[in-house]
């Protein structure tokens, strides 16, 4: 017990890093994903082709590779980022692609008649997107977004390869220093707590959208 209290502060500070990566990635990747998703459903072919290429690259290569590429690779062509911004950059880039694909599917499942009915009511394109399309898409995509959100918590542990002190790293350091399994078990428990809270929040969100069908 004493030992747990002793290592807890370092684990919690690691958890803070994990949560901050998680939070900022979501904040960046969700709106960007919606915008890229809109682009993927647009009629402008060259634009769509570029976005498709981007999504293919991001989903077709490991996030770990992207992380290493951004932090160790880009400086070689004169583009240097600190560890933390590099991690956020790679995560947002990667998750935007996943979210974009989910939003694309959601957008394509909206009845074209909804756009037309908004059009004859003389809503502008952006008013239609904001007031008519987005609420319906959000309801449709919420379960799939939820999956990715849970994945993101766990994926955030990948930042250890570029030397950021996240939760997993904190546990790892303590385990190899003190030769005990306790820190790793604690790390597992903290991850479980975080995903449990998220699962709960996501379920609440889905319930919030259940007032209409």
């Amino acid at each position: 017990m004493e030992y747990i209290l002793q290592i807890l502060p370092s684990l919690l500070s690691g958890a803070r890093m994990t949560l901050s990566i998680f939070f900022w990635t979501l904040l960046g990747a969700l709106p960007l994903g919606l915008i890229v998703g809109l682009g993927l459903t647009s009629r402008f072919r060259p634009f769509k082709a570029v976005l498709r290429l981007y999504v293919w690259l991001m989903r077709g290569t490991p996030l770990l590779l992207q992380l290493i590429f951004v932090f160790y690779g880009l400086p070689m062509i004169g583009f240097t980022l600190e560890r933390y911004p590099a991690a956020l950059f790679a995560f947002i880039l990667n998750y935007t692609a996943y979210f974009a694909e989910i939003f694309r599917g959601g957008l394509q499942s909206i009845d074209p008649g909804q756009y037309e009915s908004a059009k004859v009511l003389r809503l502008t394109y952006w008013q239609t997107i904001r007031k008519i399309v987005t609420p319906q898409v959000v309801k449709i995509v919420l379960p799939s977004i939820g999956n990715e959100v849970i994945n993101l918590v766990k994926d955030s542990s990948l930042v250890y390869v570029i030397g950021l002190g996240d939760l997993l790293r904190a546990g790892n350091v303590a385990t190899s220093r003190d030769v005990t399994l306790v820190p790793l078990v604690l790390v597992g428990i903290i991850y479980l707590l975080m995903t449990a809270v998220l699962t709960f929040v996501l379920r609440k969100c889905e319930q919030h959208y259940s007032y209409w069908k």
Partner: protein, 212 residues
């Protein structure tokens, strides 16, 4: 008065109708009838600016009128779609007030008052806070009518207003259409229901399928 002059529309070289001319007098009911596939819906979509004409002209009160370009001017054409296309995530009241608030910049209070008045006229006063999935087909249709009317259109168009309804409800739609006529609304009703058309029309226009 809306006047269509020698209008032609085709999809990928396939002509839907050709050199069609038509006049609709203010305050009257025009029924466009014809077999399924004859291009009735397409005509409605051209009038409401959802499709572009290949050729020909539309005149509104003698002035050239382009429903596609006139999007930011006064509301001119209202549409009640065959499947209504209510917004499922908004209540009946919100469905009706959304466009007046966003497009006509009406205050919330003005829009809500006008909407409640329309709902009362269409005997939907007690449905204001329900969502579309909680309504019957006939009620959905009346909400769609109220939503279109809230934009104060000069002309109101209906696509197959009787097709999604039980036979008993036909008389109810008929009553509403005639009630609106009495209030001075110009209406275009597209239908394959010849009998219904005869009951309400001041003028009928038959679209013949094109021989290719």
């Amino acid at each position: 008065m809306l006047e269509l002059k020698n209008i032609t529309k085709s999809f990928n070289q396939r002509i839907v109708w050709k050199n069609l001319s038509l006049k609709i007098q203010d305050g009257q009911i025009l029924c466009v009838v014809g077999q399924s596939g004859g291009g009735k819906t397409t005509l409605l979509r051209c009038i409401s600016g959802l499709e572009r004409l290949d050729k020909g002209q539309m005149l509104l009160d003698g002035q050239p009128f382009d429903p596609i370009a006139s999007r930011n001017n006064d509301a001119v054409i209202g549409v009640v779609f065959q499947d209504f296309q209510l917004f499922p995530h908004l209540t009946v009241l919100e469905n009706i007030t959304l466009a007046p608030k966003l497009a006509l910049k009406e205050s919330n209070q003005t829009a809500v008052e006008a909407a409640r008045e329309l709902l009362t006229k269409l005997s939907l006063a007690d449905k204001a806070d329900l969502y579309p999935y909680q309504l019957s087909g006939g009620q959905k249709q009346r909400v769609a009518i109220a939503r279109a009317l809230a934009m104060k259109p000069k002309i109101l168009c209906y696509d197959e207003p009787t097709s999604a309804l039980d036979p008993g409800l036909r008389d109810k739609v008929k009553a509403i259409i005639l009630q609106l006529k009495a209030a001075g609304m110009t209406q275009i009703v597209v239908t394959h229901d010849w009998e219904f058309a005869q009951q309400i029309a001041d003028q009928t226009f038959k679209i013949e399928p094109q021989k290719q």
